[in-house]
Amino acid sequence: MATDNQGPLWEVFVQKKSGQPFVHCGSLHAFDKEMALGNARDLYTRRGEGSALWVVPAAAIVASSPEDIGPFFEPANDKVYRHPTFYQIPEGIKYI
């Protein structure tokens, strides 16, 4: 089998505009931080998609598993009162 000639996997997060959240856009291989950052720039921001980048070792990411989605997120499903539209504000009242 091939030896490791790619380096570990990194996940790439791009910030579109200053101040906005960093959003996941994809992954890449690289041997170290600097290479990961350079590769991310070349791979994911060739058309001015971003003003800042984060690269994170993919192994450092912990994810929920698809099989558990139902019971995992269920607690939020029946709590309509967490939304502002649940409350009645008389017509004409402003700024609430």
């Binding site: 101040g19 709590k79 009162y81 502002p84 409350y87 504000i89 009242i93 402003k94 700024y95 609430i96």
Partner: protein, 313 residues
């Protein structure tokens, strides 16, 4: 090594362009310190703010009211967590921050040192206290520090139900029996001036705030926010048929805003110093809660250690 004046000039230029600062960017030490203080005070306020409202969860007048209040208080706990982690991106730790709160070294909003005497207070807090907090937080969505700004965007989205549920309670009481209406008026009477204090001392007595504006940490001054709050709230009170407890409250056509009485600033400083009606009770409750959680932290650390040893073996 790069030299500081040069870096400082670049930093100022970025702020000038309304650029946001991210954790790994260079920033002046005082900017960092100011942010840690402000964000952690904000976090403490969210957490201590759970106490006066938590006081009514077991006595909410209906199951619906109880679910709503629980959801709100839970949100405030979440807000505290967003803000603690935002402060931690600046190089401080949760332990340091909590220690400062528990020893009384750190401050939190003076408003939470007032007692919640009746159910109407829960209405008044949602309507007025969350209303004032939202006004401040809407401004902070454009604060110059990225993680703080993004936390505020999230928080503002969640806050929108807080004020509405409070106003809904106020409506119920104000259009209920004479006794209920009286409760609502009494709550407004007690919360009005403490709420006005939430925006901080007058601009002329607030040197920190001037620097915060320069750094674009704050975008509006204390007095500007206070004025906006009064202007927006008067009509809401009128609809309820309640009277704002200020004889000098009067529309001023020239400034297109209301004239009003300033809160008693000596009371404000006195409460900040620790002498408000509930300061001791709040701090004791926080310390007790932290102490009660000690076994959870110890268990988590023991578990982590065991896991590590298992990997090493």
């Amino acid at each position: 090594m790069s030299n500081t004046p040069e870096l400082e000039k670049k930093f100022d230029a970025r702020l000038e362009q309304n650029d946001f600062i991210e954790p790994k960017d260079w920033m002046p030490e005082n900017y960092r310190k100011h942010l840690i203080r402000q964000i952690s005070q904000h976090a403490h306020s969210e957490i201590v703010g759970m106490l006066p409202e938590g006081n009514w969860i077991t006595r909410a007048p209906s199951l619906r009211a109880k679910m709503v209040l629980l959801a709100k208080v839970q949100d405030e706990g979440g807000h505290g967590l967003y803000l603690y982690t935002a402060a931690e991106t600046l190089g401080t730790s949760r332990d340091e921050l909590l220690d400062a709160l528990h020893t009384g070294k750190a401050k939190y909003s003076s408003i939470f040192n007032y007692p919640t005497l009746t159910w109407a207070d829960i209405g008044a807090i949602g309507w007025l206290v969350d209303g004032a907090a939202i006004m401040n937080q809407v401004m902070l969505q454009r604060t110059s520090y990225g993680p703080y700004s993004r936390a505020m965007v999230r928080i503002c989205k969640e806050e929108s139900f807080h004020q509405r549920q409070g106003y809904e309670i106020m409506c119920r009481l104000s259009f209920g029996t004479a006794e209920q209406k009286e409760m609502a008026q009494d709550a407004l009477n007690r919360w009005w001036f403490p709420t006005m204090m939430m925006f901080g001392p007058p601009d002329k007595d607030s040197p920190n705030s001037e620097q915060a504006i320069k750094w674009r940490i704050k975008r509006e001054t204390n007095d500007e926010l206070r004025q906006k709050f009064v202007d927006r709230t008067v009509e809401q009170a009128e609809y309820l048929g309640l009277t704002i407890p200020d004889k000098n409250l009067k529309w001023n056509e020239a400034k297109k805003g209301y004239d009003f009485t300033e809160p008693d600033w000596s009371e404000f400083y006195n409460v900040i110093k620790g002498n408000g009606p509930c300061n001791k009770e709040r701090l004791d409750a926080r310390n007790q809660a932290h102490k009660n959680g000690e076994w959870v932290r110890a268990a988590a650390a023991a578990y982590a250690k065991k896991k590590k040893e298992a990997v090493a073996a």
